[in-house]
Symmetry: C2
DNA sequence: CCAGTATAGTTGACCCGGTCAACTATATGG
DNA sequence: CCATATAGTTGACCGGGTCAACTATACTGG
């Protein structure tokens, strides 16, 4: 904990200086930081009452009033009485105002771009990942876009890594589990059947927030089976429906590719996973204690039937 | 690139607000932000001339002078003429001044701690990793402490993931290489011989900045061999001697455990790796083109003799 | 050894961004 | 129709910070 606090403070100091340097460069425009923010907000919301702006930006009414008067004087905005309320005036941005906002926006982009210019593609990507991850960790409510995508280079192993870390933390499953998931990931890569199997990564603003594998188990006496493996959702991304989205992707894919059922292996202690599978129509068909993770644990086999096994598959 | 810029700007906005919230809480002390920074600097450097402080904190001389006068008036510092220069006075912090600095420090720690309190252990660790990584990416010169340590839970797979990502980016080696490294990592975990084998992670302020495996190849006709595998150094951590430190760890370990030689496999295109191995006394003993990464590439076997193979190992 | 220039620190004047509270004008609810 | 609330404006003021002029001492080259 102490170490974490020190690391965060070190970053805070660093980043304050860093952002300060960027801001200073863009400061040589006609607007100061507050004015720029205000102008952007007007562009975003126009037509808008001063009222709204004050609430959104938490500005002092007097200060806001003066800034708006200044904007109007410089021809950046217009204010017009509407029928609705004779006290207030609807604020709209003029072409000139929009131009100023665009110019500032461009300058900020350029400053950041210059900053990123030193980095290679991988480093840039690492940076974006790190920053986005930090943001989502610090503020779980932070808006972020969810998108499923196939795994990119290295992500299959990264999934194994995250599984090992998360289970070590939450359940103390150590070297044995780590070995198993690493082997599962390696086998997935080695035996990958394109078009029949898939690994989905759930990206929150591009950051891996969860993942799942679907593999081909081959024909059995009860039809052709797919297997759902290594499902996980990152702690920082929980309560966003990512588990559901991943399971949906699996069942959708399995249906499209005419699998007859999906099986999976899970554990009695993994309550939320079990609820997730139940919600999606899986049922537990077997359960037994095993020792694959060191300590004895209760494993469970779950299954979901997609359609009755066709006669042709049966002997 | 556009996406990266947007992500960085989103983070900047977020973090400015975030730090702002923390700062506001600590604002209800007698000192403002500049004064607090100044006081900390005095504590760190005392005894010190105003001169130095001005340079270090880039403060206006007049502003600095007034702040120092205020500090002296409130008994936080003392200023005394020294023989050296009759214009300047050496500034030292008083017990009271130190107490004020400590109090502010404590309050900041507490604010950050409260912020981190919501997070679990893994999330906190992820956050520290993400922030530190971001800092080192944004400023490669940022001071950071290097320490080698054995791999923690999940890190072996994470090494495989990073290898796959980095080689995909730098050399376009894709699925085949990814599969190979994943299998290598899984095999390392499965066949791990404690005390005879090791995986080192180079941590820069705790963040994985590189890694290497040393495995037992068993007895051969030329003595007992160790094998160095999956060496990598993160792009953000290059030019800090991490590669050297990792190779040193391997050779030291191999010597201690009485291996007779170390072998490794590398590639002709990996110039800096080859130079690293050569620097550490490895020599290339074989070379041939293989097709394991899709495209044909020139592979090389290198070796370093640690001691003459003992007679007993020979038939 | 002195003139000229540089440096350490102080002080007064001032500016900018921002807050506070009083004020006008309109809206709304009982 | 009155009391109260809300939209926006204005004057007074404050803190943080900059700028330039000033004093006092130090250094450097002739």
């Amino acid at each position: 904990m102490e170490h974490a606090i020190e690391a965060v403070r070190t970053f805070n100091r660093f980043f304050t200086r860093h952002v300060g340097a960027i801001d200073r460069r863009f400061l040589d425009s006609d607007l100061n930081l507050s004015e720029a923010r205000l102008l952007f907000e007007i562009v975003r919301r126009q037509p808008v009452m001063a009222n709204m702006l004050q609430g959104a930006l938490r500005l002092d009414r007097g200060y806001l009033s003066r800034m708006l008067a200044g904007f109007e004087k410089h021809g950046l905005i217009t204010r017009e009485r509407t029928g609705a309320d004779a006290r207030a005036r609807a604020i709209a941005v003029t072409a000139a105002g929009r131009a100023v906002a665009d110019a500032i926006d461009q300058r900020q982009r350029a400053a950041v771009a210059q900053d990123l210019g030193r980095l290679g593609r991988t480093e840039r990507n690492d940076l974006v990942q790190a920053l986005t991850r930090a943001r989502l960790l610090l503020d779980p409510a932070s808006p972020a876009e969810l998108a499923l995508r196939p795994a990119q280079a290295g992500e299959v192993s990264q999934i194994a890594a995250r599984q090992a870390m998360l289970y070590a933390e939450s359940h103390g499953w150590g070297h044995e589990l780590e070995t198993l998931v690493a082997e599962t990931a390696a086998a997935f890569l080695r035996r990958f059947k394109p078009g029949r199997e898939q690994c989905w990564v759930a990206g929150l603003d591009g950051v891996m927030a969860g993942a799942v594998f679907l593999t081909d188990e081959g024909p059995t006496d009860r039809g052709h089976a797919a297997r759902l493996r290594l499902l996980h959702v990152e702690p920082f991304a929980r309560r966003r429906g990512i588990g559901d989205a991943l399971v949906d992707a699996c069942t959708g894919f399995a249906r499209e590719h005419e699998y007859d059922r999906i099986t999976l292996w899970t554990h009695t202690v993994l309550e939320s996973a079990r609820r997730l599978y139940a919600r999606h129509g899986f049922v537990c068909i077997a359960s037994d204690v095993h020792h694959e993770f060191g300590e004895p644990v209760q494993g469970e086999t779950w299954e979901k039937t997609l359609r009755d096994a066709p006669a042709s598959d049966q002997p």
